[in-house]
């Protein structure tokens, strides 16, 4: 049993080589190349993993209870076990890893940190995952706008090939050197082209296949029938970057960080990259243990609110998650947050913080515009609903709406995504949670913006009154 409350001590795992407050300064960050990575203990965990049986590696990851860092928090080890089993010594044919580096959820800028400065941490995680799951090839799907990051990662992949991490020839890959199973993995970068929906795991697979990024209906699940119809694992960059620690130091080291659930849910172990943006004095990407209260993060580490203003609201991690109210400043950033604070979930744990002067109607309108723009158009409730919602919120913001429009907006929001099976992916649900929680938690602000729907009452007063 670990702790149930954040203990106030900062610990860095993912940022070991990336200067990050309170242990380092943002200004001192630099790209860690292969030589520096290896000099500082890099690829040791991979060597260790390669000396184990693949199933034992998966077991260790399962034991750690690592949960996905891409937004949904799905247990990583469990996901891996959905792959069809492979008999030792047999060739299962091509099996893929799709690394989700699409990072397009507004407010989120954390995977970027690893790709900007420590790309080999991600690559080592990729290699470990491919070994454990017997995957033959990894594609890093990076969003098109990350031009600089694509260059850094390309260079790191080249270094990894040259040093025998990936590819046919090398020091790490021969079973004779390691004692484990044969390890031959390819790794390629695949650039997206400006579509948020390709972050959804099956939209991503479609983009890899050269199609429009339309999410697929599940089942079949990607672990069984994914990229090019083959078994495929999809994991987020940060999720994979945790693997070197878990394999290198053991699951227990990972589980010593983070917190237990206090609502009877699964635990939130490990540290998390937290990109803080909005009205704080020192925005930026930090690393803290899961469970850190938002107030502690902002007040103790981000220099507090900007211009001495008061905290008003925050999005916990990407606009899809909904909003934390003024009195939810204490909310702990862990996987319990959804159940405790009426938001969809922790999401990417990159909070966007708003001060007391923020117009919440404008916040809702901004988010609704995003979803309208990014809906892929396959499902009617999402395609049409997102457009109507945006129009209604514009009308409310401009002061042309009536009270009943508030109910209409809420009804539209609620009707998209909450009914299982009416939409293919989670985008509609994110739209619903964002708009609905903002409108409900800041209802008075919306009411002040609308014209009261007057109910005409017939009255005749004074001299003209008859009978």
């Amino acid at each position: 049993m670990g702790k149930t409350k954040y203990d106030g001590t900062p610990r860095h795992v993912l940022c070991q080589r990336i200067p990050t407050p309170p242990f380092g300064r943002f200004e001192d960050r630099h790209v860690v190349r292969y030589d520096e990575y290896v000099r500082t203990g890099g690829y040791e965990a991979l060597r260790k993993a390669l000396s184990m049986k693949p199933d034992a590696v998966t077991e260790e990851v399962k034991k750690s209870m690592l949960r996905g860092r891409g937004g949904a928090g799905f247990p990583t080890g469990l996901k891996w076990t959905f792959l069809p089993k492979v008999e030792a010594g047999t060739d299962p044919g091509p099996r893929y890893l799709a690394v989700n580096a699409d990072e397009s959820e507004p407010g989120t800028f954390k995977d970027r940190l690893l790709m900007d400065y420590d790309p080999h941490l991600m690559l080592e995680g990729i290699a470990i995952c491919c070994y454990a799951c017997r995957l033959s090839r990894a594609y890093i799907f990076i969003r098109g706008e990350y031009h600089h990051q694509a260059m850094v990662v390309e260079e790191a992949i080249r270094e990894a090939y040259a040093n025998g991490i990936f590819g046919e020839k090398g020091l790490v890959n021969s079973a004779a050197n390691t004692g484990g199973e044969r390890f031959v993995v390819d790794c390629h970068l695949h650039r997206g082209a400006g579509a948020y929906i390709c972050g959804e795991e099956t939209g991503l697979l479609e983009a890899l296949e050269g199609k429009r990024g339309w999410p697929r209906i599940k089942p079949p699940f990607p672990a069984v029938k994914g990229l090019f119809g083959r078994p495929t694992i999809i994991n987020n960059v940060e999720t994979l970057a945790h693997l070197p620690l878990i394999l290198g130091e053991g699951a227990a080291a990972f589980m010593a960080q983070g917190v237990e659930s206090t609502v009877g849910g699964p635990p939130s172990y490990g540290t998390k990259l937290m990109g803080v943006s909005g009205h704080v004095n020192r925005p930026g990407c930090y690393e803290f243990e899961l469970g850190i209260p938002l107030r502690t993060l902002v007040e103790e580490h981000c220099g507090g609110m900007r211009n001495g203003k008061k905290f008003k609201a925050a999005i916990p991690g990407g606009v899809s998650m909904g909003i934390l109210d003024t009195d939810q400043y204490e909310a702990e950033l862990d996987f319990d947050i959804g159940r405790k604070h009426n938001v969809l979930g922790l999401g990417t744990a990159c909070p966007t913080v708003f001060d007391e002067d923020t117009d919440m109607v404008a916040v809702a309108r901004n988010i609704a515009r995003f979803f309208k723009h990014e809906s892929c158009g396959q499902c009617t409730p999402c395609r049409e609903g997102s457009g109507w919602l945006y129009q209604l919120l514009c009308r409310i913001e401009e002061g042309h709406a009536k009270t009943r429009d508030l109910d209409l907006a809420l009804e539209i929001a609620t009707s998209m995504g909450t009914m299982p099976g009416t939409t293919i992916c989670g985008l509609a649900d994110g739209n619903n949670w964002a708009v609905r929680t903002i409108m409900n938690k800041f209802r008075d602000e919306f009411e002040r913006r609308v014209e009261r729907t007057a109910v005409p009452v017939k009255m005749t007063i004074g001299a003209g009154a008859k009978g």
């Binding site: 397009s104 407010g107 706008e145 082209a193 050269g210 199609k211 990229l227 925005p283 930026g284 158009g377």
Partner: protein
């Protein structure tokens, strides 16, 4: 992004004799890109990126050439190309200024940045200057929220922008190589 209606019946494809997909590009596709994918269509996004890089946009003829090279139909290539915002199916300015309009940027002063660009260039969002130098667009989150407001000028990200920075950045972009 979602729903672009294609003028299938009335579309005319502008043709030129010289192929857009040069011999060098074909070789690069064949040797470096295609071996990465189990099916040739997997190379479609990289091929579209390649053409866009070289010409600044993706003409219909180029899509037909890509289709033939990858063993796809031109309609399949158009279907994919028209879905992604980063692919320009019409010519754009030599330089693209893309201001982020998402949550962190809007509430940290994005409007003033867009306005400064509009004023400096004399165009509105979605327009191209008469001399064909600049196109101004707004995009969703660029993953630079901690240093908002942010904008991409061509491939370079500019962070912590102030309106006063805009004229200088535009000047620098113009001097740099564009499309």
């Amino acid at each position: 992004m979602a729903w672009i209606t294609k003028d299938s019946a009335g579309a005319r494809v502008e043709r030129r004799d010289e192929p857009y997909l040069t011999a060098e590009m074909r070789r690069d596709l064949d040797e470096r890109i295609l071996p990465r994918y189990e099916r040739r269509a997997g190379a479609l996004l990289p091929a579209l990126h390649m053409v866009q890089e070289a010409y600044g946009w993706i003409p219909h003829q180029a899509m037909m050439e890509i289709a033939r090279h990858l063993g796809m139909t031109p309609a399949e290539v158009l279907d994919t190309a028209s879905f992604y915002e980063e692919y320009w199916l019409k010519p754009k300015g030599r330089h693209v200024v893309a201001v982020c309009r998402s949550i962190a940027c809007e509430f940290c002063g994005q409007q003033a940045i867009t306005d400064a660009v509009r004023e400096a260039l004399g165009i509105d969002v979605g327009e191209t200057t008469d001399d064909g130098e600049f196109t101004l667009i707004e995009l969703e989150c660029l993953g630079s929220c901690g240093t908002a407001p942010a904008a991409l000028i061509d491939h370079t990200l500019h962070e912590n922008l102030r309106p006063a920075d805009v004229p200088r950045l535009l000047r620098e972009a113009k001097q740099a190589h564009g499309h």
